[in-house]
């Protein structure tokens, strides 16, 4: 009889008694189905759960071999729930790392050994583990990591702020941004399959805005827990897995970075090109399994379009509704995949808009910069890189509404600095006023 690990929060005593009989019983009867059936055909039922619970349910159905945890708010509960899955036999190996450097190294080792790996972290944990995370793509290591974004900068806070996404965008990994609990569930599961495609063979980061998604409840439509994804087929990867039994077995990817000559520089340059080429190749799988890199609502004929990702998309949806009540034609584009970025899709959708508003939960406005770069030359719209909130602030819908109204009417905004306004025609007097006031 297996040892009972923990009593999951919210589970009844009866459930625990059942576990004592054989805690792995249900896991043993799970049936493997194809990704196509799992994502596109399997019947789903709706439950009202938190984002952490949604991640747990995704892992239950994802045939995960190795999960490594290290606690940090607001992700701690997620990996604790994955630990419950280990107790139930749904995850084959699970342990708590020493800290994030060790966790990310362990994920690298597990992935290189050929098993399906999962971890989660947040804020300072992300940055502490970033050296390892940034090395995963170059080593061509499939894995899924969840980032439940929170404040990283001093003075420290644990509250929502997705500045850490800015650091992840340039690692060479695939990056999704979940708006809600449903996205957490869907993106995590699809992430494993996309990550392990031979022509991709890259890690996937599933980001969400901490607390708003992890600790709040929402409806999640899920497949039956009796089915799971097929296991990883490591022999199909773009690189050989670690094989200590057969020569030549190598622990590193043998990039000749220690040599100072043109050939060494050249191979490293080409290596980086290849990583980003693999990011490009993931587009077709994101389209197939997730229904696209973005979703668009009411965009046709809209005067203004809000482009948002994560929790900002949820707030923007409400802003669109309020705009409709006021007679304003406003659409919403929700960016789901930040890497690869939906450049072509945005160019096609934003070509005729007069105004684009990009609300964000961070100071630097990483999404606004991405959007402006993507549509430069393809749209004459004025782009307002804001409103932005950070440090744990929530985003009142009225802030977004104000930017749309002021952007369309020419009224001055009190919440967005001139430096955050791009494109369209900018009044030089406004710029001069801004420069005098800083």
């Amino acid at each position: 009889m297996s040892e009972v690990k923990t009593t999951p929060p919210g589970e009844t005593a009866a459930a625990v008694v059942t576990q004592k009989q054989d805690p792995h019983e249900a896991a043993k009867t799970q049936k493997v189905v194809t990704p196509e059936y799992m994502f596109l055909e399997a019947p789903r039922t709706k439950e009202f759960i938190t984002g952490s619970e949604a991640a747990k349910e995704a892992i239950r159905r994802s045939n995960v071999d190795l999960a490594v945890a290290y606690p940090i708010t607001p992700q701690s509960e997620t990996m604790q729930l994955v630990g419950v899955l280990y107790g139930e036999g749904y995850v084959k190996e699970y342990y708590r790392g020493e800290e994030e450097v060790g966790v990310m190294a362990a994920i690298a080792g597990g992935s290189r050994a050929g098993v399906r790996c999962y971890t989660a972290t947040a804020g300072p944990g992300t940055l502490r583990g970033l050296e390892g995370i940034a090395s995963w793509p170059g080593h061509r290591l499939p894995a899924v990591a969840m980032f439940t974004c929170r404040v990283v900068n001093a003075p420290l806070a644990i509250q929502p702020d997705n500045i850490e996404v800015a650091y992840l965008l340039n690692c060479g990994m695939i990056v999704f941004h979940a708006e809600n609990q449903q996205d957490m569930f869907d993106f995590t599961m699809a992430g494993f399959i996309i990550s392990e495609k031979n022509d991709v063979t890259l890690p996937v980061g599933v980001c969400c805005d901490g607390f708003f998604v992890t600790h709040a409840r929402g409806y999640v439509r899920m497949q039956d827990r009796g089915i799971k994804l097929p296991p990883r087929e490591p022999w199909r990867g773009a690189v050989p897995v670690l094989d200590a039994e057969n020569p030549p077995a190598r622990l590193s990817r043998d990039a000749p970075v220690q040599k100072s000559n043109f050939m060494a520089y050249n191979i490293h340059a080409v290596w980086q090109q290849e990583v980003w080429a693999a990011v490009e190749r993931s587009r077709k799988y994101i389209n197939k399994y997730m229904g696209g890199l973005l979703t668009a609502e009411n965009v046709e004929g809209a005067d203004a379009i809000i482009v948002a990702s994560g929790s900002a998309a949820a707030q923007s949806r409400e802003a669109v509704r309020l705009c409709k009540e006021k007679g304003l034609k406003v659409g919403l584009i929700k960016v789901r995949s930040l890497r690869p970025f939906p450049t072509q899709e945005l160019r096609a959708l934003c070509g005729n808009a007069k105004l684009i508003v990009v609300p964000e939960f961070n100071y630097v406005g990483w999404l606004a910069k991405e959007v402006a770069t993507a549509i430069y030359g393809y749209s004459k719209a004025k782009i307002i890189g804001g409103p932005r909130v950070y440090g744990g602030q929530s985003m009142p819908v009225e802030l977004i509404l104000d930017e749309i109204e002021s952007g369309l009417t020419g009224k001055k905004s009190t919440n967005v600095a001139m430096s955050q306004v791009m494109g369209g025609s900018v009044n030089p007097d406004d710029v001069a006023q801004f420069m005098r006031s800083i």
């Binding site: 031979n198 022509d199 773009a238 040599k259 050249n266 191979i267 090109q273 290849e274 190749r281």
Partner: protein
């Protein structure tokens, strides 16, 4: 020779493409779907058209070479052996073809012998060293094939072809995908048909594979060999030794 209705300009062509040209993926070249191929960066709906062009290039270019990679070089299992044999059937259709292995992916220092191996970290050295103007890559893990193909396109005038067991390679001038043993045998048959259509004859003694200088030294000064006389068998280190890698050598390299 126009082989498709597509009048677009070829995108991925023999180089040198430049100091550090953008990758094919950066230029918008996407991998083919099953049954399709890439024809100089353009999607070719019929992979047979691509295979025919591969044959023409290998039959007419100076110093045409096949580069077998670890996936079919090391006799890991029966499947690898079958694919190796099928690859030799392709080689048997190309007069004066060379076969230079890519046995592993570690950089070769202090310098590579371009007549012994090709290496993904500096593949251009082997291309330059042997003045190779057409080459087939087969049995190379996709990541390393992609590195190799990018560097060769950047720095050499070699026409690269990738016969891939997975999804194909954008940076090759010609590529097909899902190449199992059956497809490799079909490739050999297409090569045979194209060769006969072009009126190119094979040597009567069957010795159409030309040794490099290093290979010739290993084989006692012999200049050519019959690829079908080669008999790869499963057997781990023993079979590796057939390719010139003894167990002792591998121990040192490990």
């Amino acid at each position: 020779m126009a082989t498709t209705q597509d009048t677009r300009e070829h995108i991925i062509v023999p180089g040198p493409a430049g100091f550090h040209p953008p990758s094919a993926a950066q230029m918008g070249v996407a991998l083919p779907d099953p049954g399709q191929g890439l024809y100089y960066g353009l999607l070719e709906p019929n992979e047979e058209v691509v295979i025919e062009e591969m044959a023409r290039k290998m039959l007419t270019s100076p110093n045409a070479t096949i580069f077998p990679g670890p996936l079919l070089l090391w006799a890991w299992n029966d499947h690898a052996v079958e694919k190796a044999k099928a690859t030799l059937e392709i080689a048997a259709q190309i007069p004066e073809v060379m076969i230079i292995p890519m046995p592993d992916y570690r950089p070769k220092y202090p310098k590579i012998d371009p007549e012994e191996v090709i290496n993904p970290n500096h593949p251009n050295l082997t291309i330059w060293g042997n003045k190779i103007e057409a080459a087939i890559f087969i049995g190379v893990h996709c990541h390393y094939a992609n590195l190799t193909l990018k560097m060769i396109r950047a720095g050499t005038n070699c026409c690269t072809m990738a016969i891939c067991a997975e999804q194909g390679h954008e940076d090759a001038m010609l590529t097909i995908r899902d190449s199992d043993t059956e497809k490799l045998k079909r490739v050999a048959q297409i090569f045979k048909r194209v060769r006969e259509e072009m009126g190119i004859k094979l040597p009567e003694n069957g010795e159409n594979v030309r040794f490099t200088g290093t290979q010739s030294k290993v084989h006692g000064g012999q200049t050519h060999t019959n690829p079908m006389a080669f008999a790869p068998v499963p057997g781990g280190a023993g079979s590796a030794a057939m390719f010139g890698h003894s167990a002792d050598q591998m121990k040192r390299e490990g």
